[in-house]
Amino acid sequence: MALHQAIKPQFLHQAAAGSPFRGMLDYRQAWLATILIMALVTLTPLVVTGLADYTITERAVQGEARSRTARVVSNAKRSISNYLSESISALDLVVLENSADQLKDPDRLGGILEHLQVSFLGFADLGLVDQNGNQHPYVGDYPLDRRNYRGEAWFEQASRKGTFVSDVFLGYRGAPHFVAVVKTLDGGGGFLLLRAALDTGRFNDLARLELIGGGDSFIINRQGVLQTPSLLHGPVLGRVKLPIPPHSEHTEVFETTDAQGRSQVVAYAYIPDSPFILMVIQPTDELLRSWYTTRIQLLAFLAISVVLILVFILGVATYFYNRLHRADMKQIAMLEGVERINRMASIGSLAAGVAHEINNPLAVIGEKAGLIRDILKYRPETVGDERFQGLIDSIQRSVERGGTITRRLLSFTRHLDMRIDRFNLAGAIEETLGFVTKEAEYRSIHVQVQVTPDTLEIASDRGKLQQILLNLITNAFAAMNESGRLDIEARLVRPDLVRLTVADDGAGIPEENLEHIFEPFFSTKKETGGTGLGLTITSGLVKKLGGVIDVSSTVGVGTRVTVALPLVCRPVSDVEEEEGNTCGSF
C-alpha cells in the first residue's frame, strides 16, 4: 500500500451522509487528537534527550578542544622556559667554573663560547661587561668589543636582578636575537656581567607548535611586539593586532573573534623569568570540525527518528480509525437498513387492515358492476338512467377509496431520504391514522385527535414524522385492550416548538424497563416477534427531525410519549454534515 494511502484516513474529507444514527464519533477530530497525543508522548522524551545529548556533547567537545589547546600551550611554555633556564644555567656554570680573571681572558672566553655552541643551540656570541658598562672581552662575529652598555635597560636590570633575559631585538648586528645575562662578583668588590646573545632559530622552533586543527602560535613580549614570526600577525618585531592578555601564572584560554568576526580560541602563557608570552590562536570552526560532523549525524538521526515515529503513529492511528470507521459505517448502514425494514414492517403488520381497505371497495365495485349487468340482463326495461348513474357513482367512489389507500401506502414507503416540506399537521396525522382506523374500529379503541391550532402547519419531513407517529400508535395499540382510548395531541407550545403527545390507557411500562426502552434490541415482545428496534428507530427519527422524545408511563394506567419538534426544520449545514441530513434542534 502506498504510504499516503496508509496514513490518509478514508473519512478525512468524507461528510457524514444522512442517517438518524450519525454523529456517533467525530473521526477526524478523534484521529487528530490521537495522533497529537501519541506524537507528544513519544516525541517529547526523544527530542528532550536528543537536545540534552546535543548540548552536553557540544559542551564536552568544546571543553575538550580548549583543554587540548591549553595543554599544547602548557607543554610549549615548559619547553621554552626550560630552554631559557638552560641557557641561563649554562652561563651560571660558566661564571661558577671560571674566576673573574679567567673570564677576562679572551682566549678562554672564546673556548667557552665554542663549548657552549656545541652543548647548547643558539649561542651566537659572548661578552663580559664590567660594572661601568664596558664590554671586554667579546668573542663573536660582530665588532662589539669595548662597547659600552651603561644606561641601557638590560644593563640596569641585570645589574639589579643578577640574571636577565632580553626581548628579541635587531641591535647592531641587524638580525633578530635576544640576550641572556648573568651577574658574578669581581675581585675588587665590583661585579661583572656575562652577556650572551642567542639567535632566534631554536627559539622560533620552540614557538612554532604543531597544532591539530590548524592555527597560529607565536611569542610576544609584554608590549605586544612579535618575538617569533606569526602566520597571522606577520614577521618578527611586528605588532600583534590583539590586546595583550593579562598576566597569569598559569596557562589561560579564552574565546574571542577575529577581525572577520570568526570565533577563535586563544590560549596563552607567561614564560617565567622572561618578557615572553606564548600565544596560540586556533579558529573555533577548525577545532570543532569533528563535532560538526557528529552534530550533523546526531541531528539527522533525530530527524529520521522523528519522521519514522510520525509515519508509524500516522499509520497506526489511520489503520485503527479506518477500521473503526468502517465498522461504524457498517453499523450505520445496517441500522439504516433496519429503519427501512421497520417502515416496511409497519406496513406489513398493517397488511390485514390495508387489504381490508382495498378488498372492500373492490368487492363493492365487483357487486355494483355485476348488478348493472344483472339489471341489463334480467330487467332492462324497469330501471331508469338514474339507477345506473347511482351505481356508477358508487363504483367511482369505491375506486377513489381504494386509490386513497394505495396512494397513502406509496407515500409512506417512499422517500427514505430526508425531504423537508411544509404541510398541515392535522392532515398528516389523519392520513397516518388511516392505516389503523379499521383496527381501532374492530377493537373498539377510541382515537381522539386534537391539533391546536387546527390549521397548524409544520415544515418537516412528512414521511419520517408519519413513521414516528405510526410506530407510536402501533406500540400503543399493542399495549391496549378492547375499548381503550388513545389521545393524540399536537400543540404549538412555543412560537418555534410543536409538542406531539401520544397517550394511551394501556398496560403501561414497568419502571425498570422504562430506562431501557430506547436501547436497541430491548424488547418484551421477543416471543411474539418484537425486534426491540421500534423505539430505537423512532428516537433516531425524532433526533433527525431535530426533536426530543420522552416517555412517561404508569403500569395499569397508561403510557404517554411526548415528542417535541421544531416548527420549522432547518437543515444543519455543518461542514461535517451534508446539507439536509438532519434538522437543527430548537
Partner: protein
C-alpha cells in the same frame, strides 16, 4: 331459500342482495349485527353470509349467537382481511370462508352446496375455500 346477509359495507351488501334476488334467492341484508339478530328472531333463514370483521361485534360472535337461536343455520364467512388467524377461526365454524372480492357465482355455488349437504352448519373435513 332465504338468506341473511350481514356486512358493514352497505353498498356491497345491498347490491349482493339484489343480485341474489335476480337469481331467485331471497336475501335480507343489514349492516348491523344487532339488526341481524333481530331479523333472525323474526324470520327463519337457511343460511347466513357474515362479514368476519365488523364494528362492535365480530362476525364470529354474531355467528355464535345466531347459531344459538337457530342451531340448524349454515354460515358462510366473507372477509376483506384474509389474515391467517381469521381463516383459522372462521373455517372452524363455517361452511366456507371467502375473501373479498368474490364472484357472485362462487357465493351461489357455496350456498347451494351448503344447503345441499344438510346436517350441521359445519362442512366435513373442516376444509374451506381460502384462495386469494
Amino acid at each position: 331459500m332465504r338468506i341473511l346477509l350481514v356486512d358493514d359495507e352497505e353498498e356491497l351488501v345491498s347490491a349482493l342482495a339484489e343480485r341474489l334476488s335476480f337469481r331467485n334467492i331471497e336475501a335480507d341484508w343489514t349492516t348491523r349485527p344487532e339488526e341481524a339478530l333481530r331479523l333472525s328472531g323474526e324470520r327463519e333463514y337457511d343460511l347466513a353470509v357474515l362479514d368476519v370483521k365488523m364494528p362492535r361485534m365480530s362476525g364470529l360472535d354474531l355467528q355464535r349467537r345466531l347459531q344459538k337461536q337457530h342451531p340448524g343455520l349454515k354460515f358462510i364467512f366473507l372477509t376483506g382481511h384474509g389474515s391467517h388467524q381469521d381463516f383459522k377461526d372462521a373455517s372452524q365454524e363455517a361452511w366456507a370462508y371467502l375473501v373479498k372480492p368474490v364472484p357472485l357465482e362462487e357465493i351461489i355455488d357455496r350456498i347451494h352446496s351448503a344447503l345441499a349437504s344438510g346436517g350441521s352448519g359445519q362442512r366435513e373435513g373442516k376444509g374451506a375455500n381460502h384462495d386469494q
